[in-house]
Symmetry: C2
Subunit: 377 residues, 2 copies
């Protein structure tokens, strides 16, 4: 099957993977590197999986330029579990934490954290309906760091670096010391833009990401944590989710999701082959510009996000007439443009164009959108 024979998959996650990664996984399924075993069949304490896991960690460290005083953990439960596990791990000493709200995911994080400490909103670019945290509000920008109200005793300040649903992205993370919160650390939910661009890991205390957008399959969560933050978990934190235990045992405190780590490792090697994050960022800029430039020219489709904060990963857009949605989607599917339906809380469409989506796929989408506009405009 050639690259062109596969449809273009715009799923927000789990999402498209590099075809070469899938081909290698298929070829190695029954026998990894002459071991006679599938990766799924290996003891997590054996030398074969030990090599797979340590190479994955080393490659991730190299890609993100992770400093030595940070641990890299492969965990489980995704971002929704991490919404609880971050406060459980960090609020053992001070129980105060501040949250920056920029969309559905950061709202969800803040709500979950409330049960573990004294949580405040440091800044918000939208209105949260308490009756339904999931209901979409027009989150069209991210709060400028100068406006954040960070408490001096906050253990951490949380942000979501890319809001998958609203399509809003932080282009940079602030230096908390400059905000007068030198004892706090930044915690970042980077689930949907990790590895899509270089990131300054040293600005954060914890970065976490469900792998299923840019880093691999669902079932493994990347956690990058500064080592001096380890060892202060709340008493109720399950042993398996205490970052200190996981760090001490090299992600093998309990049986890790071995096959998901293996696939993530193949994705990391693919990223290195592409030229690393600097090159990937260039491609992601070009891909997202192709789509946003077209959206800027047409009144037929609309994206509400302020130009400075548009996500390079997730591009939500609506048709000027929602009555056309079903026809747009069925026509897209017929052309091999898959999973474009927007999140239920937003409606409309969403094109997720993660690392593994080549520019040819974005071009095919824009071509279809133009044609649909011509025939229905």
């Amino acid at each position: 099957m050639s690259s062109q024979a596969r449809p273009w998959n715009f799923s927000a996650g789990p999402s498209v993977l590099p075809e070469s990664v899938l081909r290698q996984a298929a070829a190695e399924m029954l026998d990894w590197h002459g071991s006679g075993m599938s990766v799924m069949e290996m003891s997590h304490r054996g030398k074969e999986f030990g090599q797979i896991c340590s190479e994955a960690e080393a490659d991730l460290r190299q890609l993100l330029n992770v400093p030595d005083d940070y641990a890299v953990l492969f965990m489980q439960g995704g971002a929704i579990a991490a919404n609880a596990l971050v406060p459980m791990n960090l609020l053992g000493r001070s129980d105060a934490a501040d949250y920056v709200l920029s969309g559905s995911w950061s709202v969800k994080s803040e709500k979950e954290a409330r049960r573990y400490g004294d949580i405040r909103v440091a800044a918000s670019s939208g209105t949260v309906l308490e009756s339904d945290g999931q209901q979409w509000q027009p989150w069209t920008w991210v709060p400028d760091a100068a406006s954040w109200q960070v408490r001096p005793d906050a253990a951490y300040v949380h942000l979501c670096s890319n809001e998958t649903i609203g399509g809003v992205e932080f282009s940079d993370w602030p230096d908390l010391a400059a905000l007068g919160a030198s004892d706090a650390v930044l915690t970042v939910d980077a689930s949907s833009n990790i590895l899509s661009r270089p990131m300054d890991v040293s600005r954060a205390g914890v970065i976490f990401a469900g792998a299923q957008k840019n880093a691999g399959p669902a079932g493994v969560t990347l956690v990058i944590v500064r080592r001096d933050l380890l060892g202060h978990a709340q008493a109720a934190c399950p042993s398996a989710f205490d970052f200190a235990n996981v760090a001490k045992e090299g992600s093998c405190f309990n049986t890790p999701p071995t096959y998901s780590i293996y696939i993530a490792g193949l994705v990391f090697k693919w990223l290195k082959e592409q030229g690393g994050l600097a090159e990937i960022e260039k491609r992601n800029i070009a891909k997202s510009a192709l789509l946003y430039d077209y959206l800027a020219q047409t009144g037929f489709y609309r994206n509400p996000v302020h130009p400075n904060f548009r996500s390079r990963m997730n591009v939500p857009f609506t048709l000027h007439d929602a009555a056309l949605d079903a026809e747009f989607l069925s026509g897209a599917t017929a052309r091999g443009l898959l999973q474009l339906k927007g999140h239920k809380s937003v409606g409309g469409m969403r094109a997720s164009i993660y690392n593994a989506m080549p520019i040819e796929g974005v071009q095919a989408l824009v071509d279809y959108m133009k044609e649909f506009e011509r025939t229905h405009g």
Copy 2:
């Protein structure tokens, strides 16, 4: 590659999978059923994964004859996470729970539970060294239910149905009402013998199992829970791990480990093709008898477990002279008999002979053991 060309893999977990399952997974890697997507690339909310997940649940229900008043959940974190999540979910009303100790895993469960409630030991067949819960004690039988000291106000009584390290198995679970604990439910860690024999699900309130022994790859945890127990989680229980949330959303409260569920589903279909659990049990009896019968005849190797409680899944044995261990292991590897080294806390050897290990593999092991005895006896 024929079945004979693959080595025999005795790993305790993650462990051998049916070859036909691996072949199907390889063949479908780039395109599941004409969808144009790998299962790893599918949205967990799309119709394709919806079908995969609901078929896996239906097949598991059929295999284990799960009553309708039980929810079947696909979760994450394995048994070590479940050691915390079970008390967090069940001790919201009464905070008392009693534990039956029969080896390393039940000891670990009891220790973890202490942070969530008033935990007592109902019965024990060994001695726990508090200084090192991992140090092996001669757990060679399981406590008879008539000896259990169950408190009348206990929310649940916990047991581990098969101790992977000690090689000790419960052949049956008691009826708690007959023990005078009619308000308590049984919770069972069935990680290493689920699906190896029929089980009376209705005798338990919660059954959990990491999939990586008999049910699939690491990264997915099976949880079977009686529905009336849902909705009483402790306040500190993370939303993602509240059984009520997971049940309500059909295992999609957060992004589930989609690929691991898919592989587990293929294993369930393979089990049905083999004739279900009654047939699998027959094979497991024959396989384990082949090994135990030989162990009973020889003084060269030794298994310390009482004959009534020997595990059909995990057969630990020691050589009469531990100085021969290294040579035994290297000779085994040279013959394609892999991962026989015993758990570090026990030493010696361990042959894990899960469902996917055919009797030919056990025969090959016994043949090698006999030859080694002849040449080194």
